[in-house]
Symmetry: C2
């Protein structure tokens, strides 16, 4: 099985997943062709090609049969697996643990070509509800420290199947960016007694130049110090530390702003590859680890969605230095996407 | 000019460089063809096509004329420029400063097709000497906090010109990875009174499984918790916090291990695109900022070279979470490259 390893200097965890079977010749630099709907395991009618479904929203039909709107199945090639323990193995500087986790696929439409940008708000709400269900369910396994949702659009962003889908992953560690984000938010909270995300939302709404769109519950902005061209963040306007606090009207507003943003990207940037990640709260593990974050977690964290189009590969030093170069000012990026909203 | 902006939550700096002129249509996902030697500004005989040279190693000839082995010129499209001040501009949460810095190109050969993997050790030593010269010279400008050297190989790794070259960049901030690395090394030093990199080198040499190659002065390993397939680090065996401490015999040993590693990559992985970064010590700025690192800097830091082939784009969530998935166990990676060394 795969293994989680901790970098002894930075403390960053990585997943070493050799059974995903990569050999030197497997790394193809060229985009592969998408599979045809007839042989697509995510298309309606091909339910037998996936593992048994974990969750579905459907009007008619039995599990693993047609008639669904949204369907969730285990990933056939999971990065992490549910067997294993959270006990770390230590040897000098080296620290590892079993590649314990869960990895699921949220199939967002019965139709192969129905990208989220073309979907109706009602359908996007179903997708969001399915993600909420999986997060809630996976959090019950107290071995996990974090459950998150992400979406890769197009091959260049890591999507191996063209059929629209999101993924849900549960991991027994707090991922690096979330850890750093919680630390920064915590430092600010100690000093100012307020949520730094609420402050950012208020400042951006007042300033306006980096706002792409907003409605009664959400705002989409291009972050001030964004490291990627045209990257955007969707924030709930009210302070809400976790996705599972969404009210029905808020879910409708989220579906609406997300669809508008995705159409804006598609038009402004010619259907760009992108990664979308739900940045939501981590959880305590069975041993109570995580209390350093969660003491004030509901006060200092504010969930949001990050979307980063994958347009540039110009700055090769970024991987090595962590110093990112963004060739598009966020104010210009917001203006461009704003001008292409439906 | 460009601008440096600080993320209010993580403290991470980014370069916003809109004058590099990217418009939505400029982002091409496809590799461009390399330019022909006749129109290559880095080829011998085309010296008039570059800005005036800053440094060269040559037997014969005048500056900006043929007869050189290695030639350093300003980058024609710099990410940062030497005019500007280090005074930050603050407005609420937002903090920015001028896009102050330097960005130079080290042309590694007069010949367009003479990749470093094919060069003689003598020539690689000249390239290293040129980099040392530029680092030493740029550090004299006390507005800079860090000067670093990197190399992008092939278009997929960010190289816009096929002619072999490295780049030198000076920046007025300490880049994120270096900051995190210094913090981790510092924490370890406070606790154990030794350099964590020396400990890693000793453990890896004793363990052996992740060692690719070594000689009297250097060792190349696949790091234990590497986030990228086939990534390698070259460490000096003796404790040495900075590149500028290199002795002549060590420079020869570095050239040798670097060439062998690059040939190993080329053979094992079919000439993969890669990024190579010299991780060297930061500097104090004119106001003395950096003392928090440099008090014990010479004790706790240990310079090294990181090389990351760009083979995978499978894990789209990495950008959003910082949780990296490496499909090749570092022990396997080391074995594969080791089996392909010249």
């Amino acid at each position: 099985m795969s293994e989680l390893r901790r970098d002894p200097i930075s403390g960053r965890w990585v997943i070493i997943a050799p059974e995903r079977g990569a050999r030197p010749r497997d790394f193809t630099p060229d985009p592969v062709e998408d599979i045809a709907p007839a042989s697509c395991p995510f298309c309606e009618g091909n339910e037998r090609m996936t593992p048994h479904e974990l969750f579905a929203i459907r009007d008619v039909g039995e599990p693993d049969r047609p008639g669904w709107y949204v369907r969730v199945v285990p990933n056939k090639f999971p990065a992490l697996e549910v067997e294993g323990t959270v006990e770390p193995r230590e040897e000098g500087l080296w620290r590892a643990m079993d590649g314990l986790g869960a990895h699921e696929v949220v199939i967002e439409s019965p139709r192969h070509d129905m990208d989220l940008a073309f979907a109706r708000d009602e359908q996007i709400m179903r997708v969001i509800r399915a993600c909420e269900n999986r997060v809630e369910d996976l959090r019950r396994d107290r071995r996990f420290r974090h459950v998150f949702v992400f979406r890769n659009h197009r091959h260049a962003a890591g999507a191996s199947v063209g059929h629209p889908h999101s993924q849900v992953m549960a991991v027994p560690v707090v991922p690096e960016h979330l850890r750093a984000g919680l630390l920064g938010a915590s430092t600010y909270f100690e000093k100012h007694g307020e949520c730094i995300h609420c402050r950012i939302v208020a400042d951006e709404m007042a300033h306006g130049q980096r706002v792409i769109a907003h409605n009664d519950s959400f705002v989409a902005i291009c972050p001030y110090a964004s490291g990627y061209a045209y990257a955007a963040t969707i924030y709930p306007l009210r302070h809400m530390h976790d996705l599972l606090l969404l009210q029905p009207q808020e879910r409708a507003d989220l579906a609406s702003i997300l669809r508008r943003l995705l159409v804006g990207y598609r038009t402004a940037l010619f259907n760009p590859p992108y990664n979308l990640v739900y940045q939501i709260a981590p959880v305590l593990d069975a041993a109570g680890n995580g209390a350093e974050y969660s003491r004030h977690l509901s006060d200092l964290f504010h969930w949001h969605i990050d979307i980063t189009p994958r347009l540039t590969r110009t700055a090769g030093f970024e991987r090595g230095t962590g110093l990112y170069l963004n060739p598009v000012a966020p104010e210009e990026a917001a203006k461009t996407i704003r001008g292409n909203l439906p």
